[in-house]
Symmetry: C2
Subunit: 174 residues, 2 copies
């Protein structure tokens, strides 16, 4: 069972550009979700996931059809959101407690830290981040939301090309 | 003849961490300068290079032996430096003029923009950046000097692994 941060980012390490602009820089990129290090193989091994309030709001705003996740989702927030349509649990508990709940819900499968970067950093601060999977787009953004605002030594597991993306899977050194 | 930005950076897009720390994060990484997208094949095609004052000062401070470049070097600066030991030309001329001088000195070979990121951005602002070669280390820095503080659409030419590094060669879309 691993706790993994899986995300797309720009070549200069931003997961989102300014709010007006959104993810248009990402949407023009070509990647195969069934290809190497693609989303479909990744999510198949995930049993629960967690995201911050900004990421959750983004998912809600861009939801095109039913709630996209079949597995339990934690949203770390102090904010109040409308009643969710999927299995969503809002929590402002300490990160280690949330992690314990995620691991239990995942029933032996992996836990996905879906972002943003600072939330993932909080899991890392507690020694709870095992792996990072990044799909790096061929674009410089110059500014935006940081990938993971921490200093972390990593070890590469695999580097592959998937469409326009450079995909890296890395292990956090302990 | 191409104008190329060749640099190492962290996974989150920093070319240098805070000043005390320097490039220790980079020095522990293992890469082969004779390997794919390595420095030796790159520099063999370069006829002239340019860097900013901070990068030049860093080269001076870390010079271990004779001046490392056999080709002409421009330093874009308003500052005054001691008399250089190599072929170094200090200039505060407009970027297009410096580029013309670089191209002339390169005699049909490529021009290397050695950094920092903002200087490379100034060349890009004038449409004078053709390619980016980055060697991305398996480390998050969380803060530092940015890779290239501009928004730039790119097209990947080649992705290769060299030791610990993910090496990408990309073309600026025009």
């Amino acid at each position: 069972m691993l706790t993994q941060y899986f995300t797309a980012c720009s070549l200069d390490g931003f997961i989102a550009s300014d709010p007006e602009d959104g993810l248009t820089w990402l949407e023009v990129c070509d990647g195969d979700p069934d290809g190497p290090q693609g989303y479909n193989a990744f999510i198949a091994e995930v049993g629960a996931l967690v995201m911050g309030a900004t990421t959750y709001q983004w998912v809600l705003d861009h939801q095109d059809g039913p709630w996209p996740y079949e597995i339990p989702v934690w949203v770390v927030t102090h904010r109040t959101f409308p009643q969710p349509t999927g299995d969503v649990r809002f929590s402002s508990a300490p990160i280690p407690e949330i992690h314990t709940a995620l691991v239990e819900a995942a029933r032996g499968r992996n836990v996905w830290l879906a972002g943003g970067g600072d939330l993932v950093g909080q899991f890392h601060d507690h020694g709870l981040l095992d792996e990072i999977w990044v799909q790096q787009a061929p674009v410089m953004l110059g500014a935006g939301a940081p990938l993971l605002p921490r200093r972390i030594e990593l070890e590469q597991i695999e580097l592959v090309e998937n469409g326009d993306f450079a995909c890296r899977r890395l292990r956090v050194k302990r």
